[in-house]
Subunit: 342 residues, 2 copies
């Protein structure tokens, strides 16, 4: 192990597979699970596809919030359970969100959920209709009662990711302002809140890249992993082609106390669509990371990503390898290293 | 006078002109100043056009913040002074914004300023670059030191308008989320803040209309005028044509304590481009209200509006007439009357 430390609770049962013998030299040190996709088509009654979903350890197993595209085309969030974080069972009913009075308060639709634990509470963050695509949030302590919080932002916004601990006493949220459509632009911003009601001190974190790989837009992916060198962020970066967008997984390391400052940003993809389940589907050519399960003792990191808006894929890396790779392939642009206010 | 009251400080010297004898029956009770435009081309050294600007009473005269388009095409905000609110003189230097340490902190550009007094402080709210078009804010008590506040929102946003008093203890701000370009959509939202640092409790106020007049987008205009029946709001509504957008002035009355609820919304324009200075200019066909000067004793209301992104125009109405007109021509859509959360 290097001297760089991952700062996170131990998870001895991270799902894992050693790297294949033929992992190519010079390629990013991220390898797919041999049995991918781990969630296939029609996984649950009335649900055609599950993808872009987030999981974490819970009890003696794992729990997750899953984007389930109903057979009528409308996405909602479903709860899922697993013993090994690979084979999942799903609740047939949508997560029953309530308002602060305990009354039913369902979003019109909900997609791309993230799941993050801060102190003793679990937070679900997703994209929903708020007279336009915007961020929804809810909290739970028992995965039975899911209480919605105030929408943190006005539209239009997607890809909100909460940090797993407060920084300087405030909750910190990444998000990606967007437009009302498929958004041919997009940078990652950061916002703070003392109470999850009011948000401010907004800062620009990272811009879309100037080069081909992610020159259309980027967006937060998995909840950042705390390390002694900064916050390890797996995000998505989008390339534009004559036949549509291509979503790859990128990596960056943000300053620990001022995470609007990017310390390292990998100029290459970490994973890009190559396999059939990434290249074929409802939206071809998408690798969209939403969560990691990671263990500081072994350095194992399992990356959960949506594949082609149709499947869930699982990929692996080792902490030392990925930190070294990102640092040794880092190219920063001017915007990245700013504190991010204008 | 009707029983509806305007709740505002007396302004005995509102600029004024009685309605012309030929004010047409059935037309909106808003008439232009006969000497319009009150600010013409090349009004100040290095400034090609002044428009979309806000004014208010100050001392024994009037003060204003003016969008000045420099001869290099970049807009900034300039301070202006007037004895009669019609003939204006402008500072040659841009307003010198500073940060909380008193250090220079100029936006890259700044446009469409509004000026609102809340309690003992004057607030300037404008649109600026924050890695994308977004809202900037500053405060002053003496019009000498202008201290910027945190940007209230992440991009993309324009047309922010502060209410002239707190509601339920919070500052209240209208804004119009947009995209990174000329934004072919847009509704008015409302946000609250206890401290002008953190903003939340976002609510949808009004959607663009379903009919032709403002079916592209709408945006807050002048700071709302408090009345016993609700907040009188002059806003802009945009129609789309094969040759571009057309900006008219619309009117609505918002609930006093829950201003995300629209009580009345006028289905006709109050003023629409007809005169040469509204139809001709850098952006033809724009009437864009940014401020009123109004007096509860006489019921006089003077509306300041940008004309064709090239001039400042002045129009007049009487409080009773405009309230009656808006109420008798009100057509509400479903979205308008909601509390505005999803």
């Amino acid at each position: 192990m290097s001297e760089v430390k991952m700062i996170a609770p131990s998870v001895p049962n991270v799902p894992w597979q050693d790297p294949p013998a033929d992992l190519k030299k010079g390629q990013p040190p991220v390898w797919r699970y041999s049995e991918n996709p781990i969630i296939g088509r029609n996984p649950s009654p009335g649900v055609a596809r599950i993808f872009n979903s987030a999981v974490m350890p819970y009890g003696d197993g794992f729990i997750g919030v899953f984007r389930g595209e109903q057979t009528n085309g409308v996405p909602y969030i479903y709860l899922g359970h697993s013993k090994d974080a690979i084979r999942w069972t799903f609740d047939e009913e949508k997560i029953p969100f309530v308002n602060e009075k305990g009354e039913p308060f369902m979003p019109r639709y909900a997609y791309d959920p993230r799941l993050v634990k801060v102190e003793d509470t679990y937070y679900i963050i997703w994209c929903q209709d708020f007279y336009g695509a915007s961020i929804g949030m809810a909290k739970t302590t028992d995965f039975k009662t899911f209480t919605r919080l105030e929408n943190p932002f006005i539209p239009y916004n997607r890809n909100a990711v909460l940090f797993p601990r407060k920084i300087n006493g405030n909750f910190v949220l990444l998000s990606r302002p967007s437009d009302s459509g498929h958004t041919p632009f997009g940078d990652i911003f950061l916002s703070e809140s003392p109470d999850l009601v009011y948000w401010g001190k907004h800062r620009h974190v990272m811009g879309r890249g100037s080069e081909w790989l992610e020159s259309v837009k980027i967006g937060g992916g998995a909840a950042p992993i705390e390390t002694s060198e900064g916050w390890l962020l797996f995000y998505h970066g989008v390339s534009g082609t004559c036949n549509g967008f291509v979503y790859s997984i990128g990596g960056a390391i943000l300053d620990l106390e001022n995470p609007s400052i990017v310390k390292y940003r990998c100029e290459t993809f970490l994973l890009t669509p190559e396999e059939w389940y990434e290249e074929r589907g409802f939206v071809p050519n998408v690798c969209f990371p939403c969560a990691t399960i990671h263990d500081p003792d072994s350095g194992k990191i399992a990356i959960y990503y949506g594949a082609a808006d149709s499947y869930v894929g699982l990929a692996f890396t080792k902490f030392d390898l990925i930190m070294d790779y990102i640092k040794s392939h880092s190219v920063l642009t001017g915007d990245d290293t700013e504190i991010g206010i204008r």
